[in-house]
């Protein structure tokens, strides 16, 4: 069973429907026992980092997610959920993340030319920078759907894929069993469903780096 962490952030309709489409048994929950009994966890999220990080802490879900990740359970953060995996974010200030993947979250505006629009909204291609079981059903150059104004930086060792938007932006990253997608697999058509299917097939792994 997949536990989709419910901490009051974002619209989970599409994620639930996508998982149902590929035959996954998914539960939206903030119940520690349910999460503990799950095989894998998805951390969704849209909106502001500071607000989401606070809700994650206050709901107790930050500790639960860290504990489950330390057990080697496959964990996938999507969009803001991915950014929350990192050490910290510089989105309007400086805010602490879960520290499960090393790196920081910075404004896209720092690295892209002035004439590029922000947010980065739309379909953009993936370029793989490492082999990952997450990509076993997709190909380099496949398009996925992005909506974001911030990106994960200083994380070369963990980067699995980048996308080109005036600069190479981190599109997917991993540290052991902890995965993150900046794009929305649940909104990325067939390619997105294939990424979710690959995530469902990941096995529990060893310790974090």
């Amino acid at each position: 069973m997949v536990a989709i962490i419910d901490y009051g952030v974002g619209n989970l309709f599409s994620l639930r429907s996508s998982l149902a489409e590929i035959g996954a048994d998914a539960v939206v929950t903030s119940d520690e026992k349910v999460i503990a009994s799950s095989d894998r966890i998805i951390l969704p999220g849209v909106g502001a980092f500071e607000d989401a990080a606070r809700k994650l802490r206050e709901s107790g879900m930050a500790d639960v997610v860290r504990r489950e990740a330390a057990l080697g359970k496959p964990l996938l953060g999507i969009c803001l959920g991915m950014q929350l995996m990192f050490d910290k974010s510089y989105e309007y200030g400086e805010h602490e993340g879960l520290g499960l993947i090393h790196g920081v979250v910075r404004p896209i505006a720092d690295v892209i030319p002035d004439d590029y629009k922000i947010p980065h909204i739309g379909w953009n291609a993936l370029r793989f920078t490492a082999d990952s079981p997450l990509f076993k059903y997709i190909s380099e150059g496949d398009y996925v759907y992005f909506v974001h104004s911030f990106y994960a930086a200083d994380c070369d060792e963990s980067t699995l894929a980048v996308t080109e938007y005036g600069a190479d932006l981190t599109a997917a990253a991993a540290n052991g069993n902890v995965y993150g997608c900046q794009f929305h697999p649940e909104k990325s058509g067939t390619v997105g469903l294939r990424i979710l299917k690959a995530f469902l097939e990941l096995h529990r792994t060893g310790d974090l780096k």
Binding site: F13, S18, V46, A48, K117, N124, V147, K187, G192
Partner: protein
Amino acid sequence: MITKRIIPCLDVKDGRVVKGVNFENLGDVASPVDMAKLYTNSGADELVFYDITASAEGRKLFTEILTETASNVFIPLTVGGGINTIADFDRVLKCGADKVSVNSGAIRNPSLITEAAKLYGDQCVVLSCDIKRVDGEFRVFARGGRDDTGMEAISWIRRCVDMGAGEVVVNSIDTDGVKKGFDIEMLDAVCKAVSVPVIASGGAGSIDDFIELFRKVPTIDAGLAASIFHFGEVSIADLKARMAEEGIPVRIV
């Protein structure tokens, strides 16, 4: 590289897809759910569902159609029509919409944009604007293009973006339904005025019209159309193949 998006728009009335010429003479087309699946498989980058129903019964049917579509289609879904309050945002987001477009509702109450952007994020709030040339200026029209608001369009759009609209759909009433091409002059003016994504609507009659749009307004992000896709005059697969040939960045499925 980010691709130019092709977006079919489904005007829905009492649970069926319709399309008007200059917003009049509505004619029935097909099931919105079937059309959404068809478009997704042929390469649509996004879908817009526009609720043109006025009755409560029609609205309930729309919500059911939306839920069914969102459960079966896994690309971004924008919903518009009759969005006047935060409760309206909430209703369609719960049924699976990813973005909500506001038009007359924002004209009546501009703070709707600010409130919605704060609650759901800028990326969720799409400003849809019906524009017509009046006395040598671009004028904002309300109520499906029926009422001249007297407001100048470019300053209105700028104001809405400042309040938190994350994307803008520009529908030219002057070219809508005429099928002689997008309103290049109007779209260029809007693209120069704002830094958020702009979606062109109104006037597409052929593949060439889309090519002209992306060539002449290189900062436009997407082209939206309804009847030419519904009636099979332009297939999305053919359109995208041609865009690729012309060197326009496009997602081929």
